[in-house]
């Protein structure tokens, strides 16, 4: 047994004050981490002698393996964040190791994290989320996966998730899954096309039917019964693949872990969203040159939070460790807020809508003084607590029904508005993806609804890696947007 003390890293402080650092600085900070801590960050702790399973490394490690964007990003300087990045960036290897160690590898496509709890409630399984491969071209600043997808006819007019098809074709990004689960229906069309090609490549796909969401209660009830049946069918399939029967005790254990993780994430979002208006949260601080207003500051970076929020999609291949990693981040933020410290110069409160495939954008806005206090990343279904002690499949269905993508445009718009209200945002950024099946429809209604609330909004399309000119235009627009938000605050007397 590994003692809790060693598993939790937040007792060790790298630096007292939070700030964002580049990978060079991080590389140097890493030298300060005691050997003992590095050795004790391990995934698959159930496997003895798995010397490859350490994961606490600075981004420079991943720069060497070709993730070129890391050289341009800024990271939070806490050990918890370092650990988070190490954990996230090692996912690819982890899935291969899982397969080598005889675990069943389950690909979960198009569903955005709803079926994952069920997958992990079978012993010896890991889930991964191929759609997330859309980050790889950005992380590597490479067209390799897009070029590969283009060989199948999925070109620039298809969403970046086409990278997943490239990865399936190349067979070098994840091992052959023991089962592919494809959620179809009320999800993206582009992912549907990806799945069709994946199936044509010879992969066996278990289709999970997801009807679109109705808003009337009696319709929702009918849907729930149906979804519950889908879960039952999936469970039977998983029994077949894993050779283990569905076990209620194990299921409940898993759900309680998943809830713990979701709880930690929701705590984190709550803490960052904070309460009170931005003006209320200003504090006065005497810095020797007279009293000066110090605004509330950002306590955790946007891209770190993006990594945290995406954890419930596949738990990055290891549920137990993932919980620990996220709780470390939560504890770090908690301790920072207790100490009233945060990143200097980041205080314009923003809600980010739709996950940006290019994390650089998020970093950039933070560099301009933005702090991301709320988000709608199309993964609302991974946020609610799953009912414990109820009928297992009903409980899963229930939480699935809160999904962002399966409902109407109006529903999604409302989710965004909720985020704005909860976090007292001063501005909203929508990062759409050209050629995706929902962005062209949702953007305008969301923009309208947000503007109606008197909140400025910036809608951009994420630019594919390598298109420098187009990217600098986006940067310019961000600059102008932030200027206007700052001016608005001055005008209000902030």
């Amino acid at each position: 047994m590994i003692s809790q003390k060693i598993r939790k890293l937040d007792n060790f402080e790298l630096e007292e004050n939070p700030r964002q650092i580049d990978f060079r600085e991080w590389h140097r900070l890493f030298q300060k981490v005691p050997e003992e801590l590095v050795e004790n960050t391990r995934y698959f702790r159930d496997l003895p002698n798995a010397e490859w399973s350490q994961y606490l490394f600075p981004p420079s490690t991943h720069v060497v393996s070709g993730n070129r964007l890391l050289r341009k990003l800024k990271f939070d300087n806490s050990l918890a964040s370092l650990r988070l990045w190490g954990f996230v960036m090692s996912e690819g290897e982890r899935i291969y190791r899982a397969k080598q160690a005889g675990k069943k590898v389950i690909a979960v496509m198009g569903d955005l994290g709803a079926v994952t709890p069920l997958v992990y409630s079978f012993p010896n399984t890991v889930a991964f989320y191929p759609d997330c491969l859309w980050w790889t071209p950005f992380m590597m600043e490479s067209k390799v996966l897009f070029d590969e997808a283009a060989k199948f006819g999925l070109g620039e007019d298809c969403c970046f998730v086409r990278a997943a098809l490239g990865a399936y074709s190349k067979k070098a990004y994840f091992p052959k899954p023991d089962l592919c689960i494809g959620t179809v229906g009320a999800t993206c069309d582009d992912m549907n096309a990806v799945m069709s090609e994946v199936e044509f490549l010879g992969y066996d796909i278990h289709y999970f039917e997801l009807p679109h969401r109705h808003d009337k209660p009696q319709d929702v009830k009918r849907l729930k019964v149906f979804l519950s049946g889908q879960y039952e069918g999936l469970s039977a399939k998983l029994e077949h693949v894993t050779g283990h029967e569905f076990d209620l005790t194990r299921f409940e254990e898993t759900i309680s872990k998943v809830n713990r993780m979701r709880g930690a994430i929701s705590d984190l979002k709550g803490m960052l969203g904070g309460a009170g208006s931005p003006l209320d949260s200003c504090v006065r601080r005497n810095d020797g040159r007279g009293s000066r207003r110090i605004d509330r500051r950002n306590a955790m970076g946007g891209i770190e939070m993006l990594n945290v929020e995406f954890a419930p999609l596949s738990y990055y291949g290891d549920l137990d460790e993932c919980i620990d990693v996220i709780e470390d981040v939560r504890d770090t933020v908690k301790s920072r807020q207790t100490r009233s410290v945060g990143y200097p110069d980041q205080d314009i409160r923003l809600v980010w809508v739709t996950p940006p495939a290019d994390p650089q954008l998020m970093n950039y806005i933070e560099g301009l003084g933005g702090m991301i206090v709320g988000s709608e990343y199309l993964i609302n279904q991974t946020t609610p607590q799953i009912l414990e002690n109820g009928d297992p499949f009903d409980s899963l269905a229930e939480s699935h029904l809160s999904g962002s993508l399966m409902g109407s445009m109006g529903y999604r718009t409302q989710l965004v508005i909720d985020q704005i209200e909860k976090s007292n945002a001063e501005g909203v950024i929508i990062s759409g993806v050209f050629g995706s099946s929902h962005c062209p429809y949702e953007t305008t209604p969301i923009v309208d609804a947000v503007r109606k609330k008197g909140i400025p909004v910036l809608a951009i399309d994420v630019v594919a890696p390598g298109k420098i000119m187009m990217q600098s235009q986006i940067f310019n627009r961000m600059e102008a947007f932030m200027e206007s938000l700052k001016a608005a605050r001055r005008y209000r007397g902030g």
């Binding site: 199948f152 006819g153 582009d190 069709s196 044509f200």
Partner: protein, 363 residues
């Protein structure tokens, strides 16, 4: 000018349709539908008239369109089409959830129109989830009927199903005989006329002479505007099979379907649907291959609507697997596109003609 029998057919038929629409004006509700996954019999059983919403190459002055440019050109056009005379008088709209974009389009319609627009889910899997999706379909129609104050007439339903079955049989036979031309099948597929009236019209049709030298083409892909068929004919091609969702595929006869009317409609329209959004590529390719054989096809004109994911993203797969001369027309539904299509179709047909001549010479 010599009269063109094919165009005359179409002219006669559209005349019939206008007459019919005039005759019922104000007495029956018009229900628009967006996808061939809609059981028109059911609309008829509710006493309404099914109006197929078809894309148009005619630019509509947009005013406000909340849908961005990179959306499917057809879906993007739908809210604007609603301002055209042909659709101005619709009482409601219904659509099978054929793709995410269509689902979003219905959302937009609900925001921008005063009439109800209703969508129901369709599955990708066959068989195992039928009862749920059948109920979804029923519920959607009931909801629409409710807001339009319509009630279903069971007898009408039986009648409509029966006559549609007859119609399908007849269309298949006449099409095979060469009595029904491709421009006409396009019109039939989207017609608002009750089956009996169409049958009446078709019964009198005589087979048209077909030039045996013409290259035989299969039109494949997503919803056509009809202009591409005319263009193909104009450059001397012959559309022997129309596998778009407004063509021969609409009249396909499916085997071993249940007798119970709703179950029949569900299986026929929703489950057994050869659309790449709801089917794997392998059976679709087999299906297309059968049609190619049946129609003795020389080449394929593949029509995809710009940013249509199901058909657009499948184009390359079909091209590779079908192993035939293949012309992809990626249509953004503008008038400019039409001009370039004429040129490209002309070249394609010429190339196939030359090939055909060489083949004949070799024999």
């Amino acid at each position: 000018m010599k009269s063109n029998p094919r165009q005359n057919q179409v002219k006669d038929f559209t005349g019939l349709e206008s007459e019919y629409l005039e005759s019922i004006e104000g007495r029956r509700s018009l229900v628009g539908y967006l996808c061939m996954r809609t059981p028109v019999e059911l609309i008829e059983a509710y006493g309404a008239v099914p109006i197929r919403i078809v894309s148009s190459p005619v630019a509509v002055s947009s005013g406000f369109n909340p849908i961005r440019n990179d959306a499917c050109s057809f879906c993007k056009q739908v809210p604007e089409l609603m301002k055209l005379d042909s659709y101005k008088y619709l009482s409601g709209i219904i659509a099978g959830s054929c793709c995410d974009q269509m689902r979003r389009t219905v959302d937009v319609l609900n925001e921008t129109l005063d009439i109800p627009a209703i969508i129901y889910s369709a599955p990708r899997t066959y068989g195992q989830n039928a009862s749920f999706f059948l109920n979804e379909m029923k519920a959607a129609f009931a909801k629409l009927a409710d807001s339009l104050r319509l009630t279903i007439d069971e007898n009408e339903l039986h009648k409509a199903i029966k006559s549609r079955k007859q119609l399908r049989k007849l269309v298949n036979q006449k099409r095979y005989d060469g009595a029904i031309s491709a421009p006409l099948i396009h019109k039939l597929a989207g017609s608002c006329l009750p089956a009996e009236k169409i049958i009446e019209f078709l019964t009198g049709l005589k087979p048209l002479p077909v030039n045996s030298d013409s290259v035989r083409l299969m039109l494949f892909g997503s919803i056509p505007s009809g202009k591409e068929i005319l263009l193909i004919e104009e450059v001397g091609g012959y559309v022997a099979v129309d596998l778009t969702c407004l063509g021969d595929r609409v009249f396909e006869i499916k085997q071993n379907l249940p007798e119970e009317p709703f179950e029949f409609l569900y299986k026929h329209y929703i489950e057994h649907n050869n659309c790449p959004h709801r089917r794997s590529y392998a059976p679709l390719i087999d299906y297309a291959k059968q049609q190619i054989k049946r129609g003795a096809i020389d080449g394929i004109v593949y029509r995809s609507v710009k940013y249509c994911h199901p058909f657009g993203l499948a184009a390359k797969r079909f091209k590779e697997e079908l192993g035939m001369p293949f012309l992809e027309l990626d249509d953004d539904l503008t008038l400019q596109a039409t001009g370039s299509f004429r040129t490209r179709l002309g070249a394609f047909v010429e190339m196939l003609e030359a090939q055909k001549r060489r083949k004949v010479a070799q024999v």
